[in-house]
């Protein structure tokens, strides 16, 4: 909302207070000021000129050559094309050097051979509206040579307050309310404002009937002897300053009253209204009306209408109708000032996307005592300008409204306790009094009368008054305090454990395994779900999403990660990503409707596909190593892999090429190559053909599993022996069975078996494969001898033979 400091000066004497000081005080004590700007600063440079003469341009019929006195003792020659310029006029002159809106810099120039030393301006050229039929002719009375801003009251500053910071302050939606605030903050007197209704004739009142439950007060005041003429300059200037386009006196006054005391109102041409009077009712299904902006609106029953007889003439609280607006011939008015239910106005304005100055105010829950004040204010202002305006009858004032003013108890002790500062009782009472609250001391308690303007919404409990005291004093005065409490180490509860588990996994993957952590949207795209074959799974759905792709919430982190593979593979040979995140499972919801939450670690690894990757360099092998390592490092040293079975495999996983991870009895995760059809669907083909694997580990399962950190074993007392064993076996023999055979052959002497080479093809005969292991032999009680090794190797030969293979001799 825009506040003009000149306008504010109508309510409080601002002598000696700069606009900047006002803006800063409002920011610190009241509401957020978004901007502070001089109003049309060039008007301080444009001066009043006196046209001494106008002659026709020798070379152009439509141009005039004017001699203009600009008050500095010289006469300027100015070429002007306006038809209405004439000798004797006071006009606005922009002299060379002055810059007008639109980066228009005035220079001495020659127009058709005649020198022009400036420009006589129209209102539009000065930024004062659309008037461009001719130059702006100023009143006779203004002093020649003075800045136009000064003589016409256009020197002003505009303070823009963030509307969002006024949501709870209906009283601040007009200059009067801000004036009360400023007066309190600077310790100035508030100027009196007489809004009582002048005497009226005793004609028959205008009939009004309220049929809607959403209108609590409706004041209708007929006014005669008016005409929609141009408003006086002071009124136009104030409206301009706050961004309102002046239209005619009646509309301008209506707007002025709203912007002055915050109460929207509406002027109807009374002759365009039905003799049956005004009916306030809810819209009927299928009803339509054309609003002032010329748009035909389809209505619903939650909209409230102001009707003339039965015909809608205004959308209550939002906008007037086309048919009954003030027009050139208007001579008698009906002024409407009402109180509407905020939620109704808000819903209608939202539904129609029609936010107006009026709806913005009604939404805030306006003071229901305001309508009669607004009517009085309107009539008094009108009379100053149009002394012939009369009130043919008393106002109609109907509706079930009640004065919301109330009394609250305030304990100064509570004020001190909540603010954490020693505010004396008298200061509490003084501040509240300055803000317009009535204060009466009752023992240790203050009985505070909340005026209606503050009582509709903002001030309803004691704590609201604590805020009034705190903000008006200034929060900067409150001393900083340290929190004091017994500090215990954080509880090792489920949340703590889960966070520590997540940290351990993250650290291992990012630090040791060199994966990049990502955080994804919780939304999952429909097409991705379709590729996964998960499109028919239940998902939490957003029903009103205005964002493309944001309609379903993921059940698992896996789709999010899978969706990142192809775009990243286009830029990188290897994509190694992980995410610790949540998924939501709606079919397992709490009775209250909260979907079950799962916590997961997802890891993906995709590398450029190659035919001859070593057995331990495939994406699956690398990912298995990383996943095992991360789970171990997180405190589950006992984690083991088991072969994946087709019935266990999740949809994203290859039915065979994968493993499950187990801690104790619990399955905690999967590591597998991507299911081949999915890999193609994800676009990991062609020039981004990928060897891609993924892992999904359940944090929830891990948290339920027993933690077994790595166990210490005594260091060996005797040296061990390293033996390499190379075998040639049928291709069907599993590596794990061989390793088990190598271990078993040691009869307790084998400390470790490690596969270091595997190949098939080439020199290896068809149907066979060659594997090579490092075997570490160790005895706890003696140094091993060559004989021990030979015995071991012969047992190995036998064991490998039993598997259908043979040990290869070096």
């Amino acid at each position: 909302m825009k506040i003009s400091t000149r306008w504010l000066g109508r309510h409080v004497d601002l002598t000696g207070i700069s606009p900047k000081q006002i803006a800063e005080a409002l920011t610190i004590h009241t509401a957020e000021v978004e901007g502070l700007e001089p109003f049309l600063p060039h008007l301080g440079k444009v001066v009043v000129g006196h046209v001494l003469s106008r002659e026709k341009h020798p070379d152009a019929d439509k141009l005039g050559v004017c001699q203009v006195d600009v008050g500095d003792g010289t006469t300027r020659q100015i070429v002007c094309g306006a038809a209405n310029v004439a000798g004797g006029q006071r006009v606005a002159v922009a002299l060379p050097g002055v810059e007008l809106p639109g980066d228009f810099k005035i220079k001495v120039s020659k127009i058709r051979g005649v020198e022009s030393q400036g420009m006589i301006c129209s209102e539009r050229e000065l930024g004062l509206g659309d008037e461009h039929a001719g130059i702006w002719v100023l009143p006779e009375s203004v002093a020649i040579g003075k800045p136009v801003a000064l003589v016409l009251g256009l020197d002003d500053w505009v303070i823009e307050i963030d509307n969002k910071s006024l949501t709870h302050r209906p009283d601040l939606w007009g200059h009067r309310g801000v004036g009360i605030e400023v007066a309190a903050l600077f310790g100035r007197e508030l100027k009196r404002l007489d809004t009582s209704l002048p005497a009226n004739a005793s004609g028959p009142v205008f009939p009004v009937r309220i049929e809607s439950a959403s209108c609590s007060r409706y004041v209708a005041l007929p006014i005669d002897g008016v005409s929609p003429r141009r408003s006086p300059d002071w009124l136009r200037a104030l409206l301009f300053a706050v961004g309102q386009r002046p239209i005619d006196l009646l509309v301008d006054l209506s707007n002025f009253v709203m912007l002055d005391i915050g109460q929207p109102n509406h002027v109807f041409d009374r002759n365009a209204l039905s003799k049956d009077g005004i009916v306030v009712r809810d819209a009927r299904p299928g009803e339509r009306m054309k609003t002032l902006d010329g748009v035909e609106r389809a209505l619903v029953p939650s909209d409230m209408l102001i009707c003339s007889g039965d015909a809608p003439v205004a959308l209550a609280g939002v906008m007037g109708g086309e048919g009954s607006k003030v027009a050139e011939g208007t001579r008698s008015l009906l002024l409407e000032v009402a109180t509407f239910q905020p939620a109704v106005v808000r819903r209608t304005s939202q539904r129609l996307a029609l936010r107006t100055d009026s709806s913005a105010r009604f939404e805030k829950n306006l003071d229901p005592t305001l309508p009669m004040q607004a009517a009085g204010h309107f009539v008094r202002l009108l009379r100053e300008i149009e002394p012939g305006a009369t009130l043919p009858c008393p106002p109609t004032d109907v509706g079930p409204w009640r004065d919301p003013a109330r009394t609250l108890q305030v304990r100064p002790e509570r004020v001190r306790q909540l603010l954490g500062d020693d505010v004396p009782d008298d200061e509490v009472a003084g501040i509240l009094t300055r803000l317009g609250f009535g204060v009466e001391k009752q023992g240790t308690v203050l009985a505070v009368r909340v005026p209606s303007a503050r009582a509709t919404k903002d001030v309803t409990i004691e704590q609201d008054l604590v805020e009034e005291v705190g903000r008006t004093r200034g929060y900067a005065r409150i001393p900083e305090r340290a929190l004091v409490a017994d500090i215990a180490p954080p509880k090792r509860d489920e949340g703590w454990n889960r966070r520590m588990l997540a940290r351990a996994l993250q650290d291992r993957l990012a630090g040791g395994a060199r994966f990049r952590e990502t955080i994804s949207y919780s939304f999952v795209a429909d097409d991705l779900l379709a590729k996964l074959g998960d499109e028919n799974e239940p998902h939490v759905r957003v029903i009103n999403s205005g964002v493309e792709g944001a309609s379903r919430i993921r059940r698992s982190v896996m789709p999010s990660l899978l969706g990142l593979l192809e775009p990243n593979r286009r830029r990188r040979d290897t994509v190694a990503l992980f995410e610790v995140g949540k998924g939501y499972v709606p079919e397992c919801s709490s009775p209250k409707g909260e979907p079950a939450e799962v916590h997961e670690l997802g890891i993906v690894l995709a590398a450029a596909a190659t035919k001859d990757a070593r057995f331990d360099a495939t994406s699956l092998a690398r990912l298995r190593a990383s996943a095992l390592d991360a789970v171990r490092a997180a405190g589950f040293a006992q984690v083991v892999e088991r072969p994946l079975t087709a019935e266990d495999a999740p949809r994203w996983a290859h039915p065979v090429r994968g493993v499950t991870l187990h801690v104790g009895d619990a399955r905690v995760g999967f590591v597998a190559e991507l299911e081949p059809r999915l890999r193609r669907a994800l676009g990991l083909v062609g020039d981004v053909d990928s060897d891609a694997a993924a892992a999904l580990i359940s944090l929830d399962a891990l948290l339920n599993a027993e933690r077994k950190p790595a166990a210490f074993r005594s260091l060996p007392k005797f040296p061990g022996v390293k033996v390499d064993v190379a075998v040639l076996v049928p291709a069907t023999v599993r590596s794990g069975d061989l390793a088990a055979a190598l271990e078993k052959s040691g009869k307790g002497l084998v400390e470790g078996v490690e596969l270091f080479d595997l190949y098939a093809g080439g020199s290896v005969e068809a149907g066979k494969k060659s594997l090579a292991f490092h075997v570490r032999l160790l005895a706890a009680d003696r140094t091993l001898t060559e004989e021990d090794v030979q015995k071991y190797l012969s047992r190995v030969e036998r064991a490998v033979g039993e598997l259908g293979g043979a040990v290869r001799k070096a």
Binding site: T30, T167, G420, E467, A485, V540, I543, G593
Partner: protein, 342 residues
């Protein structure tokens, strides 16, 4: 008998040879030749049995003298040659510091994780509990219990994603619902922070995201006051920016606090105005306030017995400030070109 001054004596020749050795290898060969049996001292020693007894003693002494002289010359030359080698090595040869080192495959944590961890560690050290709450949330926790009834205008500003036609389930629009969940779970006094994802149903651009991160803070205790809030916020900023930062509280309206504030911090990046603070030297950092009595009641806490403060830190914004990220959309993009920078 030859004297040591005779330039052609075996000793003089041997010494000259040692002093002239070109490198350590040549010196090693000379050591073998000259200090061995066939060297000048060795030859004398070998000849001793053939000498008359009275000459043997002086011949032995002579051999030792020669041996010592040769050893001295050897080690002197050795030091010289080592110095030369060291000096040569110290020149650095053709080293090119601009030649890149071997590439190291690097992993890394997401910048949000980094900042969250810093804050978690900071607050844990001050006795705060770290809480988590659901992203898919009940309307009750997200709005009703926070003093935001249906038809409250504050709901408009939140641009809520609704998950059912009755409006019972929403994607949480802030981390504040966990305030109520915290009150339900913990008995006062307590302190808690809640980092997490929040959602707004709004168009996305460089500074607006429909999904972003926030961190809620909540302290409930006896006589907790605005003064304590100020103290806690200063401590927070000291932790985040590593230095004391001036703050100011302005009135701000949020239905779940009363009084409510906007907290501004003196711009940590400038003293006279910059792009970050929009030339104002103040950065609007976080909304905060004293917990509204209705909110305490929703959480089952008696507002006459207990008071508290709450704050809501824009984590995504803090991450962007810390790393100078100019587009919020990078944060959840999963784009390696972004992630690899951290």
């Amino acid at each position: 008998m030859t004297t040591s001054t005779d330039p052609n004596s075996p000793l003089s020749l041997a010494l000259a040879q040692l002093r002239g050795a070109a490198d350590l290898e040549a010196l090693k060969a000379l050591e073998r030749d000259l200090l061995g049996k066939s060297g000048p001292a060795g030859q004398i020693l070998a000849s001793i049995p053939t000498l008359p007894p009275e000459e043997r003693k002086s011949a032995g002494a002579r051999a030792n003298e020669i041996k010592r002289a040769l050893e001295e010359a050897l080690s002197a030359r050795k030091r010289e040659l080592e110095d030369v080698a060291l000096a040569a090595e110290r020149t650095g040869g053709d080293f090119d510091a601009t030649l890149p080192p071997a590439p190291l495959e690097r992993g890394g944590l997401h910048p949000v994780t980094r900042v969250v961890r810093d804050l978690e560690d900071l607050f844990t050290s001050m006795g705060y509990t770290i809480l988590d709450g659901p992203e898919v949330e009940l309307d009750w926790y997200n709005f009703e219990a926070l003093n935001i009834p249906k038809d409250h205008p504050a709901r408009d500003a939140q641009d809520t994603f609704y998950c059912d036609p009755e409006g019972r389930v929403v994607l949480r629009t802030h981390t504040s619902p966990v305030q109520i969940r915290a009150m339900e779970r913990m008995k006062p006094p307590f302190r808690a922070i809640v980092p997490g994802k929040v959602f707004r149903n709004e168009a996305v651009d460089a500074s607006h995201e429909h999904t972003f991160h926030q961190m809620e803070g909540l302290v409930v205790g006896k006589d907790v006051s605005v003064g304590h809030l100020i103290g806690a916020m200063k401590t927070l900023l000291r932790g985040v920016f590593g230095k004391d930062i001036e703050i100011r509280l302005r009135p701000g309206y949020f239905p779940f606090v009363e009084p409510g504030f906007e907290l501004d911090a003196r711009c940590p990046f400038c003293s006279t105005g910059c792009r970050v603070c929009k030339q104002s030297t103040w950065i609007e950092l976080l909304p905060c306030g004293m917990v509204h009595p209705n909110v305490l009641k929703s959480g089952g806490i008696d507002p006459e017995q207990w008071t508290g403060f709450a704050f809501g830190l824009g984590l995504s914004r803090l991450v962007m400030l810390r790393y100078g990220i100019d587009d919020v959309r990078h944060l959840l993009s999963g784009d390696l070109r972004f992630l690899e920078q951290f």
